[in-house]
């Protein structure tokens, strides 16, 4: 917001200079706005900034939290194979889940967009259900579906002569399962965001494209996607952050197993920090997400800013 200074014609300039300065500062819109939002800023600072700085502080201490070790915890982590396994798994998990969520969300959004208006609410409501149920609860249901002895999936597949599949017992299948559940849980969010974006694309652009000779696929590629780029970028970034930091689905479904092959940053930080009673090492693990996400955020948001004034 631009600073708007209310002009005061004849302010006594000599004796009351200090006081008039304060008055002016208060009359500046930005100052007033800042003061009004100050309580919220302080609250956020307490709830976000303090824990963040505290975890940085924790990451520099030794296991008993008695001695400053600098980057000692990180040096230790870098030498451990499990850590690099977690880095790799986190990247695979987050990137593949986000891509699948974006893809499925986009396709489903298109279908819902083409449903007649009077039936659309029903479909939107039903498709949002996975996202509305607390993931800890829904993951428990998935756990039953994947159960080695009573798996509904394996039972169904057995009719086709497939299986039994060790959904959570085998490293590759376990990775597949956590990604599947995460996609199931997160795709509705993409769907609802893309649906809103789709609705904001003027119908006449499609008509113009149809007359210009674009087929269905070209209309998506040259009209829909460019018009939705900002929403896609922001939704992807948001989802990337949330998926990278996911805890509950992996924790409940596999608890990082088998043999740490589904651990991601948050679950492994919990394992070493809380279960392994090495809080500083756990803090170091979770802090390692920051630079990776920061790089992604910078790239995606820079693109959004660049295009901000286009449409």
């Amino acid at each position: 917001m631009a600073d708007v200074v209310v002009q005061q014609g004849t302010v006594a300039r000599t004796a009351t200079r200090r006081r008039s300065g304060l008055q002016k500062a208060l009359k500046r819109k930005s100052t007033a706005a800042f003061l009004m939002t100050l309580p919220l800023i302080l609250l956020i600072a307490c709830l976000v900034l303090y824990p963040a700085l505290y975890s940085v502080h924790l990451a520099t201490l030794n296991k008993s939290m008695a001695r400053f070790v600098g980057f000692g915890n990180f040096e230790f982590l870098f030498k451990r194979d499990t850590f690099w396994l977690v880095v790799r798994q986190s990247c695979i998990f987050a990137i593949s889940a986000v891509i699948l969520k974006a893809l499925i969300g986009f396709i489903v959004a298109h279908f819902v967009h083409n449903v007649p208006a009077n039936k659309q609410r029903k479909w939107r409501g039903m498709l949002l259900v996975p996202w509305v149920i607390p993931p800890a609860m829904s993951t428990l249901a998935w756990l039953w579906l994947f159960d080695p002895s009573y798996s509904a999936f394996n039972y169904t597949l057995s009719f086709f002569g497939i299986g039994p599949i060790p959904w959570t017992g085998d490293a590759m299948w376990a990775r597949f399962s956590v990604i599947l559940v995460n996609v199931w849980y997160g795709a509705p969010f993409f769907m609802i965001m893309y649906l809103a974006a789709l609705k904001s694309v003027p119908e006449q652009l499609y008509e113009a494209a149809a007359i210009d000779g674009a087929n269905w696929w070209q209309r998506i590629w040259y009209v829909t996607l460019p018009m939705m780029r900002n929403i896609i970028a922001i939704t992807t970034l948001f989802s990337l952050i949330v998926t990278f930091a996911n805890f509950d689905i992996v924790r409940i479904l596999t608890a990082g197993g088998p043999l740490d092959h589904t651990h991601i940053f948050a679950t492994w930080a919990f394992r070493v920090g809380i279960e392994g009673s090495d809080i500083p090492l756990g803090a170091s693990v979770s802090l390692f997400m920051v630079p990776i996400l920061a790089v992604a955020a910078v790239f995606i948001l820079r693109d959004v800013n660049k295009r901000g004034n286009e449409a």
Partner: protein, 366 residues
């Protein structure tokens, strides 16, 4: 380029009939304007020609081929939309060349066509800008450029000037006419503005309630309207309608407007209307410019009468005068020096050589 033919074209939305069986032949190179009030079906007709709406019944032919089930992209048409419908993420050049790029034209030809169209529309300097950086008039030019580079069989314009201010509208109207004179592509243009229709069209199609009321050149519509709707829709200020009846008195056919006011009809008109039953309820239609201040010299067919003016509107080159004839408000056009004053009396004259007589019940011009 091609001719466009509509045969008994119908458009139904559920139980509403938006277009009720229209027949229209548009010749090659012709500029045809569909005009009518909101909801008369003119835009729907245009969109059916474009292929953006399915037709419920009838046939549409472009260049002799029935295109009822041909998708828009294969009809070889170009359309200019009311809100321009430019792709916001593309530059002017990309917007204009989009259709050609989709059809994989060689780059050199695309560039040549875009440059030529930009030159014709005077937007060469804007070629690398995005639509957001353009004014309304410039966007409209780009939208036209996008249509021109395609070199289609038919141009379709859907109220292209409605979003512009009055001054720009006049300017762009002239631009569109110039472009058509250069490219000579068959054009169908939809507007609700009768001035646009009159100034641009080779032929005007007046539509009302999903039907064609009349097709004709601007002059035909103005001077020989077929129905009351056309007579009142074309021309500004609108034609005056005063209830009247025919009567014979002193061996001559008279037009009686009020108990006190009756005019003898000129011989040509008398011959034309003589066969009408004298009991019919009729409407006397006269355009404001045929109701002027009385001149000192008597002219055949021009009958003087006295009026008390309600309101006058000096327009500079003329003054519009409003008065009532037996409860019916009418408008006349007088010379600014005729001495017309609000509330004042004025000796007026009506030119019966240019009158119209309508059937009050059917609205048909007799």
């Amino acid at each position: 380029m091609a001719d466009v033919t509509l045969r008994k074209v119908v458009k139904r939305y559920d139980d509403v009939e938006a277009v009720r069986g229209i027949d229209l032949d548009i010749a090659d190179h012709e500029f045809v304007v569909l005009v009518g009030p909101s909801g008369c079906g003119k835009s729907t007709t245009l969109r059916m020609i474009a292929g953006l709406e399915d037709i419920s019944d009838g046939d549409i032919m472009i260049g002799g081929d029935v295109v009822n089930d041909v998708p828009p992209k294969d009809r070889d048409i170009a359309m200019v939309f009311q809100n321009y419908a430019l792709y916001p993420h593309m530059t002017v050049a990309e917007n204009m060349s989009f259709g050609l790029r989709l059809k994989h034209y060689p780059k050199a030809e695309i560039n040549a066509r875009v440059t030529e169209a930009a030159r014709m529309l005077d937007i060469t300097d804007l070629i690398n800008r995005k639509p957001k950086q353009l004014s309304g008039g410039q966007r409209q030019r780009v939208a036209m450029g996008r249509a021109i580079v395609r070199n289609p069989k038919v141009f379709l314009f859907d109220e292209p000037l409605s979003n512009l201010d009055a001054k720009l509208r006049v300017q762009m109207r002239i631009e569109i006419k110039k472009v058509h004179q250069k490219v000579r592509t068959t054009t169908v243009y939809v507007t609700h503005d009768q001035v646009e229709a009159m100034t641009l069209a080779d032929r005007v199609v007046v539509m009302n309630h999903g039907r064609i009321e009349q097709i004709g050149t601007p002059n035909e519509l103005y001077h020989k309207p077929a129905t009351k709707f056309v007579a009142s829709f074309i021309g500004s200020p609108a034609m005056n309608f005063v209830p009247c009846r025919l009567e014979d008195s002193a061996g001559k056919l008279h037009l009686r407007l009020t108990d006190r006011l009756a005019f003898p009809l000129p011989p040509a008109r008398a011959a034309r209307y003589n066969a009408l039953p004298r009991t019919d309820k009729l409407l006397f239609g006269i355009r404001p410019e045929h109701m002027t201040e009385a001149s000192p010299h008597a002219e055949p067919g021009v009958e003087p009468f006295d009026a008390t003016l309600d309101v006058t509107e000096p327009m500079g080159m003329e003054t519009l005068v409003y008065f009532t004839l037996e409860g019916t408000a009418v408008c006349g056009r007088v010379n600014p020096n005729a001495g017309a004053q609000d509330g004042g009396p004025l000796r007026m004259a009506v030119d019966l050589n240019n009158m119209h007589l309508l059937n009050e019940a059917t609205g048909a011009v007799l």
